[in-house]
């Protein structure tokens, strides 16, 4: 296990280096002069020179790359050109919206998907199974931002149970903050739950075909006991992997959903960065997102290796 973990750790490090090189190349090398790009066509030459100086663009490319990476390792993400505050500060504020949103929808989709998938598998071929499979087929086809608009239409416009958007901040109390995140989390969670429920169903069906399940039934357990005591735990392993792998979709989804509900999260920050040509913000936030995806993939690999010894030795 230690060797497996060490190998995964090396590959984690290499992935992070490679990803940071790609992002650096796109943001700082392709535009030619990022300072001139950020200031636009009509900028005075001395303003450009001042910004070049501020961004440290006068060094060589390798030196600039190392400077950027070294800064991030110390928690210094640079200074936002438009906001005139450290990007790390902006990210820290916005993270308190995006992260709870992602966590909430992850929890919600798992809580919905696992029981639904289990019911479909246990009632395989019956009406409940067909109903659930039809619903999940529809759930996969629904774009989450459109689903979000439907939720706004029903629960904010017609029923007036929720606000159509905005975020009061955690200072306004946990209840009102959670209330503002409820519709976004549901919008994000349900399409995700549709995929997860299908994975849960097929994993459980496969497990239920195993010999040890027949043994469990033969020793006198009924179907419900068999699923609860023997099948579910084994079937959960692939489901957990998918949950981990879906993290990147969740993150991307959260960025879009934040736009629907005007939530001041990382997604809004990135889009503001794009429209204001604030490359410092875009570069750092994108790196942060990619970092999150790579680390989660790594953790899933480790967890999977711990759960299933066969994987550690497979190539």
């Amino acid at each position: 296990m230690l060797r497996y973990a060490a190998a995964r750790l090396v590959s984690l490090g290499l992935s992070l280096v490679a990803a940071s090189l790609v992002i650096f190349a796109v943001i700082e090398v392709i535009p030619g002069d990022p300072a001139a790009f950020m200031l636009g066509l009509n900028a005075e030459p001395d303003t450009v020179a001042a910004l070049r100086d501020e961004l440290g663009l006068n060094g060589s490319l390798p030196a600039r790359y190392l400077d950027w990476v070294g800064g991030m390792l110390r928690g210094d993400f640079g200074l936002s050109y438009t906001y005139r505050v450290p990007v790390a500060e902006l990210v820290a504020q916005r993270l308190w919206v995006s992260l709870p949103l992602a966590m909430l929808s992850l929890a919600l989709s798992t809580l919905i998907a696992i029981p639904v998938g289990v019911i479909a598998a246990a009632r395989r071929g019956q009406a409940a199974d067909y109903g659930i499979m039809g619903a999940t087929q529809l759930g996969i086809a629904v774009p989450n931002f459109w689903f979000a608009m439907l939720l706004v239409l029903v629960f904010a416009v017609k029923l007036r149970w929720f606000n159509a958007g905005g975020f009061p901040g955690w200072e306004a109390g946990v209840f009102s903050a959670l209330k503002a995140l409820t519709l976004p989390a549901v919008a994000l969670a349900l399409p995700q739950a549709a995929i997860l429920a299908r994975v849960m169903r097929s994993a459980l069906i496969e497990t239920l075909g195993q010999d040890y399940i027949r043994t469990a039934r033969a020793k006198g357990l009924n179907a419900r006991q068999t699923i609860r005591r023997h099948a579910l735990r084994n079937a959960l392993i692939p489901v957990l992997t998918i949950i981990g792998l879906q993290f990147s979709f969740l993150l991307a989804g959260a960025i879009i959903i934040e736009n629907v509900f005007y939530l001041p999260g990382l997604g809004r920050l990135i889009f503001q960065g794009i429209t204001q040509r604030d490359l410092v913000v875009v570069e750092s936030v994108v790196m942060l997102l990619v970092f999150a995806v790579i680390v989660v993939t790594f953790l899933v690999d480790i967890a999977y290796g711990a759960a299933d010894p066969r994987l550690r030795h497979r190539r």
């Binding site: 992935s15 087929q137 086809a141 774009p143 608009m149 416009v157 159509a164 879009i256 889009f271 993939t297």
Partner: protein
Amino acid sequence: MRWPAQMILGAALTALFLAVALVSLIWVPHDVAALNIAAKLLPPSAAHPLGTDHFGRDMLSMLMVGARSSIAVALVAVGIGVAAGVPLGLLAAARHGGWVDELVMRGNDLIFAFPALVIAILITAVFGPSALNAILAIGIFNIPVFARVTRGGALSLWRLDYILAARVAGKGALRISAEHILPNILNLLIVQGTIQFSLGILAEAGLSYVGLGAQPPTPSWGRMLAEAQTMIYTAPRLALLPGLAIVTMVLGLNLLGDGLRDLLDPRLRRRTA
């Protein structure tokens, strides 16, 4: 067997949208570029079967042209994925365990860390938003998907006797890949192509919704939704129609893909045979 009904429904829906997109190339009921504020937000009528939007544009025509842009983006993105991913996957499988294989797979891992949205954000930050960016972003995201499917399918074939026979006959890896491997993994690729097509439609809608895809005045389903959002109180119909179009199209493609998989998957065939 349940698949034929589902698959026929899927194929019919897909064909319907493809036909609508093709028809929109030569004919739409009303010009989508002409604004007519006097006729704004009209309810459905004989002249405008789905009503008009906030600029007085015919909704049916907008949806038809929108289908064209969605399908074009998703199709070209699948094309990029196939054109780059399939040769990479074939190469990796032919040189299994070698440094080429390692390089291709690690490169794939790297792209997997960048969701299509993040690729689009990177491209847009530097080049500005356009439909081309959406195509590139989704296409780049498709490359590792096709490389992985191709490599997996090809690896299982390389172990078979008839490939060994071809090698003994003196055929090189390149020729074997082209003549024997590729035709036999075509099934896999068709199924994956359908799936990526449907994911591409969803991704294009998302990207154009947040302004990273097709730019005004080009109608696209995602942009129509973005514009409708501000009027959700007064004209919810504007938000419902493009969404329904997306759902129906994606649902059709998914049903078709599932049906094709059941039909073409050799493992399933062996089981039923």
